[in-house]
Amino acid sequence: MIRKLLPHPLLTLLLIVAWQMLVNKLTLGNLVLGAILGLVIPILTAPYWPNRPRLRSLPRIVEYILVVLWDIVIANIQVAGIILFKRNASTRPAWINVPLRLHTPEAITVLAGTITMTPGTISSDLSADGHTLLVHCLHAPDPDAIRDQIKSRYERRLMEIFE
């Protein structure tokens, strides 16, 4: 019964909180409206979540977010340096392929999004079998180092969160 009414309790909670944040003002009316949305949307969208992954531990998720935010700041400064002070002839753009150990679709999506948000790398394609990610680098004098960094910094942490 409770499973039928709340197929996705976390999504319900997220929707209620997101609604309060969007309205920017906590009143009883908004809370009720948020609760209605939080109840109805998960039930309507349940068919689109056939086997959703279990998230392992909250501290690791927080750690991952902090690591990514820090990397975004550092990488922004590096890329600004490349754009402003490096001549086009001396930048070395490169395609690199990153073999994946992750196989949960949600985890691969998070990894691809992280790679795009950290400046200097953009994830562009996935191999048809879902085992390799194609990444474009703005300046990659040493493609292996970038591949190793993606694998050890992001993929290892996502393995611990998702699998």
């Binding site: 944040m21 754009i83 930048t91 690199i96 392929n97 795009t116 953009i122």
Partner: protein, 126 residues
Amino acid sequence: MIVEILISVFLVISGIFGLVGSVGLVKLPDPMMRLHAPTKATTLGVGGALIASLLFFYFVVGRFSYHELMITLFLFLTAPITGHFIAKVHIHRHETRDSLPGTGSDRPWATFESDAERIRAEGHEL
């Protein structure tokens, strides 16, 4: 006073990175490299303006504003998707199977695989 300086610093940071992103769009030579420039403007450029706005509402207006956090969340959800779309268009128009590095298996990058090839490889319809 200190708060005003802090807010100004974040606004200046935001402006600088927004400008650098735009300079990159003009300066970099090919579409894939140019795609890197806007990802800067959306992260530190917009991020700086959002932090400045948060500080302003908290210390000057005197209430906490959640909208900045929501904007950050939505940006992080949507920016990689548009970037992925543009990269995909570039691959369709300017790259071939041989111009990209290998996938490490006998199946190609997803952009290049036709439906017939996929059915042959997986042995069933979707």
